[in-house]
């Protein structure tokens, strides 16, 4: 018996969170006399800001650690997952890892009867249509909450870690029981609050899990790429480069974004700053002096919104409120009032205020989003 848990997270920003969850599962399983180990998807190293990454934990109550390691260790990816955790719901738009295996669905490895746990403010009905359709049923548990984002060297201790452990115990107690989770968390500082958070998530998930049917979800629109044989590509470690003024068609990287910029072309003063400052070169000049956004390449860094001098002209919006990468300028050209109404609707829900840490020993404030 092997239990496989995969933890999908935003590279760098959720690395510590992912690793703690993965590691704690091993320690908690040990309380239950099971063997286990945890590792990351090898091809995610080095992590890049926001690029989807994975941690894995493998648990067994019947094998030795060496046998479990032989089956599950030293591999580039997991074979199949009993539980798939998604720490940022915008990963449902697609997972483009750094080693680039195409744009893959986040539930790709979720097996029949398995469970998907997603941290999200959205309801299950909003999330299910984004998932890849599977030929079997599995379960979706939504842990209500904001995406927990940190940095490489700091950790946002907001109980997401504890809640995820409680949710895992709820969807599959044969991995870890809630009692073992609580006992483990009680050994930590603020243990009572941590254990209570796990238990609350456990209760939440136990009462509210959706069964995803074979008719749910979408036919996945992206193909997996294929790799050439050793004789099928040029030698000397040389590849054809992106042409000048062109974009990298083989690695768009647009799925690294958690938010995307919505542009009010009617308010735009054509100052050119968005186009100049975009680190991904995702803006295209169009006739008349405006700038179109190529959402497939936008990484959601928010620089354009920050530098735009016009209030409400560029606003960052939760990526899950969109389901395509259609050109906004083309939509505006076709029907400006419809586009503006669409923009108003999209920007009516603003992302949460995030703490602003200047790194200059100044007090932490909330970010200034206009």
């Amino acid at each position: 018996m092997i239990k496989r848990v995969e933890i999908n997270y935003r590279g760098v920003f959720q690395k510590t969170l992912g690793r703690k969850i993965g590691g704690d599962l091993v320690l908690i399983a040990r309380r239950l006399d099971k063997v286990g180990f945890s590792n990351g998807r090898y091809s995610d190293a080095p992590e890049r800001n926001g690029l989807p990454s994975k941690y894995f934990t493998f648990i067994s109550s019947t094998m030795t650690e060496a046998e479990l390691e032989a089956e599950c260790g030293g591999k580039l990816d997991i074979d199949a997952a009993d539980v798939t955790v998604v720490l940022d719901d915008t990963l449902l738009a697609g997972v483009e890892p750094w080693a680039w295996h195409g744009i893959r669905p986040v539930n790709e490895k979720t097996q029949a009867g398995g469970a998907l746990i997603v941290v999200s403010r959205h309801a299950p009905d909003d999330l299910v249509p984004r998932l890849e359709r599977k030929p079997y049923t599995y379960h979706l548990a939504v842990l209500a909450g904001e995406t927990s984002l940190s940095g490489m060297w700091v950790f946002r201790d907001d109980l997401t870690h504890e809640r995820v452990l409680g949710a895992i115990a709820a969807v599959d107690p044969s991995i870890v029981t809630i009692e073992a989770v609580e006992q483990h968390l009680l050994t930590r500082a603020d243990g009572t609050a941590r254990a209570a958070a796990a238990r609350a998530a456990y209760d939440e998930v136990t009462t509210g899990t959706t069964t995803v049917q074979p008719t749910d979800g979408r036919v996945w629109p992206f193909e997996a790429p294929s790799l050439p044989s050793w004789q099928g590509f040029r030698e000397a470690a040389t590849v054809v480069a992106v042409p000048r003024q062109g974009r990298n068609v083989t690695f768009p990287r647009g799925t690294s974004k958690t938010e995307r910029p919505v542009v009010r072309f009617d308010l735009c003063t054509k100052c050119t700053l968005c186009w100049l400052d975009c680190p991904d070169g995702a803006f295209d000049p169009v006739a008349g002096g405006h700038y179109d956004v190529d959402y497939a390449y936008c990484s959601g860094c928010g620089k354009c919104a920050e530098v735009c001098p016009v209030k409400d002209c560029i606003v960052m919006v939760d990526e899950l409120r969109f389901d395509d990468t259609v050109s906004p300028w083309a939509a505006y050209q076709r029907d400006a009032p419809a586009y503006l109404a669409w923009a108003e609707e999209k920007t009516s829900v603003r992302p949460p205020e995030r703490p602003h840490v200047s790194g200059r020993m100044a007090p932490v404030t909330t970010s200034s989003r206009s």
Binding site: N39, G73, G74, H101, R104, S226
Partner: protein, 413 residues
Amino acid sequence: MAIAPPVDIAAREDLLTGCQAVAEGVRLANVDVIAAYPIRPYTEVMDNLSKMIADGTLDAEYIVADSEHSQFEIVKHASAVGARAFAGSSGTGWLYGYEALVVTATDRLPVLYLVGNRALDDPGAFGVEHNDALSLRDMGWLLCWATTAQEALEHVLIGYRVAEDLRVRMPMALALDGAFLTHSQHIVQVPAAEAVRRFLPTYDPGEHRLHPDNPISVAPQVNEDWVMEIRRQNWEAARRAKVVIAEAYQEFAEVFGPRYETPYFTETMTKDADAILIGLGTVAMPAVESVRRLRAEGKRVGYINLRWFRPFPTEELRLALGHAKAVGVIDRDFAHGAPDGGGVLFHDVRSCLYPIGDGPLAIDFIAGLGGRDISIDETTAMFEKTLAVGTGAPTREFVTWVGVRESEKEVRP
């Protein structure tokens, strides 16, 4: 000569990556000087050691160098003045300081290094490949592979014990498979500092200590009158190392209990095996699982997980391999243009088997380069091929590339 008295650390069980386990070993060894320079996958050991120093659980000088070359020079000199020193690197970084690594051995300085095995550039890659550590093959180093985090921790201690012995005085490279061992979290038993003190003496370079009260010159320029004799001294030290290694494992067992049946390798079902595979590092995991499955089918196969690459356990391997019909070497490395195209380990193993009259035929499998995984099915196929070679007609096709794409393949079938 430790700079400060060691911090008392109690024994505990913990969840550690391979890098963290090495850091624990370095702390328990009460290392005095650490020179660091980041390159993954070795970098995590740096992070952990600096945190230990910041937390006050390790007292050591911690110097971030401007490059691996400087990093290795720093610890070399620290060792010369009597400090127990630690450094490490991976892949292309390891080679960046190669000049310093060579002279550390010829100056007979017992520094211990972590090599987080990583593919050599170009093309840049992060995955495991053994050529970085194997590049030291000829230079008079102790070179050892750990397969588990537990082994990694323990071989920091064994490493210093052997390296610093006055009969040896060679630097030691402890290699860990990048990602698969360096970054995988496992349960490890961390020993108490008190127990480690009973095993590992303090470092004392004796008459080789660089100090004003002991006027010596280390490595002055020589001419043709001296080089050959100095080389002969170092060659002899590498031979003496085998005696010290045997003693060190014996002493280790006395303090920590029987942990290693033999110092040089771990054998799985080799005694009556017709086909024996041998490899370095984490490929042991799928290989041993293949042995279990094939033995259940009645096939006589066995695996040797080689720990020490230098000094090479020639006599011990002759004894362990000599009865087999065929030996399959797994090379997680390449040796372009080498005899029959075989990898580095293949050549050492084949050479070791050569004096045995009517000994086993050796073949080679090149696998797992650049971090590509090696599956149980693949190691099973390696065993099957080795069995076939052992019982069939002799072959001149000594080398098989395993897992390389012979045709176009979808990434996610």
